[in-house]
Subunit: 344 residues, 2 copies
Amino acid sequence: MSYPVNIAVDCMGGDDDAFFVLPGLLLTLKKYPNIKLQLYGDEEIIRSRISKYKALEQASQIIHCDTYVKMDEKPSVAIKNGRGKSSIWVAIEALKQGNADFMISAGNTGALMAMATLILKTISKIQRPAIAAIWPTINGETIVLDIGATIGFNKKQLIDFSILGASMAQVILDVKQPTLSLLNIGEEEIKGLDEIKSSHEMLKSTEYFFRYKGFIEGNQIGRGFSDVVVTDGFTGNIALKTAEGTASQISQYFKDSINRSIMAKVGYIFAANAFRSLKEKMNPSRLNGGVFLGLNGIVIKSHGKTDPIGFSSAVDLGIHMHKAALIDKIKSNIKLTEKEVNID
Amino acid sequence: MSYPVNIAVDCMGGDDDAFFVLPGLLLTLKKYPNIKLQLYGDEEIIRSRISKYKALEQASQIIHCDTYVKMDEKPSVAIKNGRGKSSIWVAIEALKQGNADFMISAGNTGALMAMATLILKTISKIQRPAIAAIWPTINGETIVLDIGATIGFNKKQLIDFSILGASMAQVILDVKQPTLSLLNIGEEEIKGLDEIKSSHEMLKSTEYFFRYKGFIEGNQIGRGFSDVVVTDGFTGNIALKTAEGTASQISQYFKDSINRSIMAKVGYIFAANAFRSLKEKMNPSRLNGGVFLGLNGIVIKSHGKTDPIGFSSAVDLGIHMHKAALIDKIKSNIKLTEKEVNID
């Protein structure tokens, strides 16, 4: 790349006073020395923190914002208080104006989504934006969406999400024709799944740029059954959180079992390298970063509770998607799909 | 107990030709020598298998049934083909007639639920039955329902499920006033959750025989946040399956990491005892058995893919619930609740 990547960073969002943001950016800067950073937030706070990272200071421009969105603020209140002046709002504005290539925040998800939608608008033909997560599987990674922006199943939205998720898979997983499935439960005759069933019929009956593999159950996500798994935001959020909870529960069991005896501790020392790779696989920092899909611009939501490595990996994700021209890919995939099927 | 417990067993349902059923019953018989077993299914098959288990043969009565429900048969087809003669149907009829104390099957869940509902009917005031699972947590166990009988959120059903799940918790977890929560996602202002919200208001505003703790997110189930977690069958099924999938995914990571080097294998030998306890905790057999709640009779659904230990633990669960008079407890809790609130 001859042009630098311009990144708009909300420096105020995140738990623990967002202390991980600057050291996280430094990690990314070491990997990509060519990036340019715009740091949005309280100038005094940012200046006091950045002084010890000279390289980062040189690559950054600080844009003071009078206010910021609190982590527990309701989206409607955040918009009322922060319109035009909060760090999230002003950073997204920069993206909208073409002054940044993507925007990242570890702040309040609901407020970030509400502001991003208001400012950037959805891509033409896309009804509502979704949040996509990268889910680690036995044989790689799967993109799961929506994980929290929508509630309830709606055929048009599920088809939209399929196009969005499969476009992201092309970019992130580097596959030309991603495989895709719809999350469902086993009972076939149960009632109330009409929207999922009709999406299924529509996905089955048409040729798309992705390959539709049918329904998937919750236990198959982690097996890497398909590159993309589509569901509504309520179900996706519960599935993701339940998987995270189960992983941390098992970590706890593992620690307890190691601490039970001296013999076990000795064994652990012998197997330390092996367990390091296990720990690495289960590390939530590794795949941190929810991606807002369907908007006219790339917005990345880092987990609020993360560390410099986790924040940096979310920034890297944004760089990757910008370089691969995700938004253009989505737009051309929408056109491609329109020729085949009228999804309105 | 001076009276023997009479158990109606469907011997035809389950994967791998249900070979685990008889050795599973033998394990339970060793623990509870006083039980009486009614074995429903193809007499020839049962006789050929039971001949090597003399003790089991003596405690059992074989009831020949002309047909049985296939694992992938649709409930409506199963009822059409199996009404009055399939092993599941005839076994549930015995329960209905008072000739058995509970019924158990590892067969087709949808058909089992449809037949059980048709024959036993729901308990007065309960709109629809639910399936409850026992979910292992860091500090014990939590009862989660519904895990697959219903779709969609309905206030009346969520209150019913609260009464049913809390009654089961009193019996299984041996707590007088169980704690209970509603599964939800974090975003507060998102639309479409009206039924969950109004159930929440109703649970919050009234005194029940359980203690309502509010909303819970997916990652909190495994932390043992409450004794009971209530949701609809679609969400509950996806949460449960996703947790199972995550556990098996991590098992796979664990095996891979141990097999990577000789050092790791040596370490594993030292820590073998500790890992045995870990494996035991993660063993799905340990807590096998979905319980159909809300019907006039106790019906237990064992996992179709299980082993003798898993089947036996599901039978033990039925014995436990019968001895604790679960159905009477549910009925008296419904009366108790009616005094406080009109849930119709």
